[in-house]
Each structure stands twice: as C-alpha cells, then as structure tokens.
Amino acid sequence: MIYLYLFWEYFKIGLFTIGGGYAMLPMVIQAVQKHGWLTSDQLYNFIGVAESTPGPFAINLATFVGTTVGNAQYGFWGGVLGAVVATFAVVLPSLIIIVIVSKVLERFKTSKVVQGVLYGIRPVVVGLILSAMIGIALNVVLPNVKLTDLGSASVTPFNWVSLVLMCAFLPLSRIKIKGKKLHPIFMILLSAGLGVLLFGVLKIPG
C-alpha cells in the first residue's frame, strides 16, 4: 500500500513541476509531511547530500525518500523496492511527455507556429542558463547568498580560494592539446583532487 502512495505522489511531482529539480522541492516537502514519511530534519539534511552527490538533484531526492520509507516499513529490500518505485514514478511522466512532444515537433518542424514559438523561447532559456550560472558562481564564492535577497543577506566570508580555482579552470577548459580540449569529466576529477589537496591536506579555510 505504501508503495502505491509513493508511486502516486512521485508521479504527480514528476507531472506537475516545470523548471527542474529545485522547483519540485515544495511538492516533495508537502508529500513527505502529509504522509509522515520523513522528519523535516531528515529531509533538510539530505537536501545537502543530494546537492553534493552526482546525478540530477530530483532523482537523488526521490531515491532517498523511497529508500527511507520502504526501509522503515519492510527492512532493507523494502527500501530497495521503495527506491525503485519512487524513482520510476518521477521519471515516467517525463518519458511519456517528451516522447510525445518530440514526435509532434518532428512532424511540425517546418510549421511557422512551432518555429515562431521556438524562436521566442530560445533566448529565454539561454537567459535562464545565465541566471543559473551566476547563481552557481555566487554560491561558490559566497555560500548561502542568493541573488534575490542580496540586499538583506548577512555577510558571509568570501571564498577566495574557490574564486582562484574558478579563474584557473576557465582557461584550462578551453586550451586544446593536440586539437583536443580537456574532457569535462577529467576536469571534475582534477578539481576533486585539487579540493582534497587544498582544503583537506593543506587545510586552507574556504
């Protein structure tokens, strides 16, 4: 029974949130509280973890909620089943909707209406990416500060080391060695190593 609820809540979350993982958060909190699945502490703790582990934020959150709920009720394998159900449910609407939209777009690609709408949305989406980019950059140098509340934000220590790292990575990501750029995955591994060295071994505060 609990799996039916899990499926239903996560299917709704997948179906009704536009704008990605963070837009889902209010609905996730609501569902979790309504069913008493997790304590607020558990959830907020995990939001930090979901941000710092690989993979889409919303998927991480769904898997975690599913695991915790199933595990509390039926033990380890119950947790595994819960994770499968919640993750599958949050992905299913995407799968259906995107396949339909892609089909429609393919067929009407030359239609003036579709072209006009795409023409209008493209710059908006690129604007959204810029906004996300600045948000991410700001979060690195000034943790816990958001653009929307810059005025009221209390002063947090400026993270110089991360700024230097960013400035070093930017040209590094663009140089070509034998006509090839460094692969982003290699850059991530490199940055993880540098992080361990700078913040872990040398214990630079940042």
């Binding site: 889409p56 777009l105 992080g195």
Partner: protein
Amino acid sequence: MKKTSLWQLFATFFKTGLFTFGGGYAMIAILQEELVDKKKWITNQDMLDMIVVAESTPGVIAVNTATSVGYKTRGILGAIVATLGIVLPSFLIISLLSYLIDAFQSNIWYQSAFKGIQACVTVLVINAFTKMFKQIEHDVYNYVSFVVAFAIAAFTNFSVIYLILIGGICGLVVTLLKQKKSNKKLVVANVQDVSDQDTEEVDQ
C-alpha cells in the same frame, strides 16, 4: 548521422549521470562534449532545442534532455535506454548512501573534494552558457528577450513557467508579423515587376 547503438547510448548517459554535479545545467557541458563534439550525434543547435523542450515540459531537466536525445537517436527504445542510463548512477549511489548518510556528511575528505568540484562545475556551466548563447539568432529581438529573461529570472521570484510561456507567445507574434511584412514586400516587389514589364512593353 551514424546509427547509434543502444549500448553506446546507455553508456554515454550513465557516464554523464555519474559526473553531473549541481543539476541539469552542469550536465549540458558534459553532453556537449560527448554528443556534439565527440560522437556528433546531434548539433549545438539541436542541443539548444532539446534544452528548450526540457525546460518547457514538466519533469527533471536532466531526465528530459536524456529522453529527448535518446528519442532523437533511436526512437522510443532509445528514450528508455538513455533515461535509464542517466538515472541509474544516482539510484545506485543514493540507495547506498541512504544507509550511510551520517558518515558521509561528516567526511572531511569528501567535503574538500566537493569544494573543488563546485569551482569546476561553475566553469562547466560558463562554457555551456557561451556555447548556447552562440546558437540563438543574433538580432535585436533575441538580445532584448535574453536580457529581460535573465534579469527576471535572476532578480525576482517570477515563475519560470510564465517566463517561457510569454517568450513563446512573443516569439510567435514577432515571427508572424515579420512574415506579414515580408509578404507585403513580396507583393510590392511583384507589382513593381509587373509595372516594369508594362513600361518595357510600352517602350517597345
């Protein structure tokens, strides 16, 4: 475009899922490298249109992008395989971590590594942004709506859905108006052609 094997599709998205930190936007950089530069399955323009679709439809942006690339390259089966690929790393890692969350959170080595990764992710998003910016048409309309959309998204809590909706409507109106104008021009040009011919005939 070469035919993509389902295994390749799965492996590419699994790899992408494994190294995507900080949400869908950081993923764009990895996908550009893998899908556009290396494998050439899609172009940067396709990529932007897929992000447009992913942003304008419900669901997780990373999953939407994977589904849409999978569908474009190998149909419905491709969509399922790509989605499975992007979700599986999360699923495995988090299933495990759910039981070790306390140890994980207090691990100084992971925290240090993650601080480094965050700086790198920012750079990846900067690169993804510059590539996507090059793909929009460089006219006044695009520049204006880019700046307006950025400002609203960055400095207000205005809903992204409405922003996209308004963008789509404005784009449609502008395109139709342009078309009307060029049709008129065409008519005028035709009329001129005809009158030119008339004068020529008269001359003869």
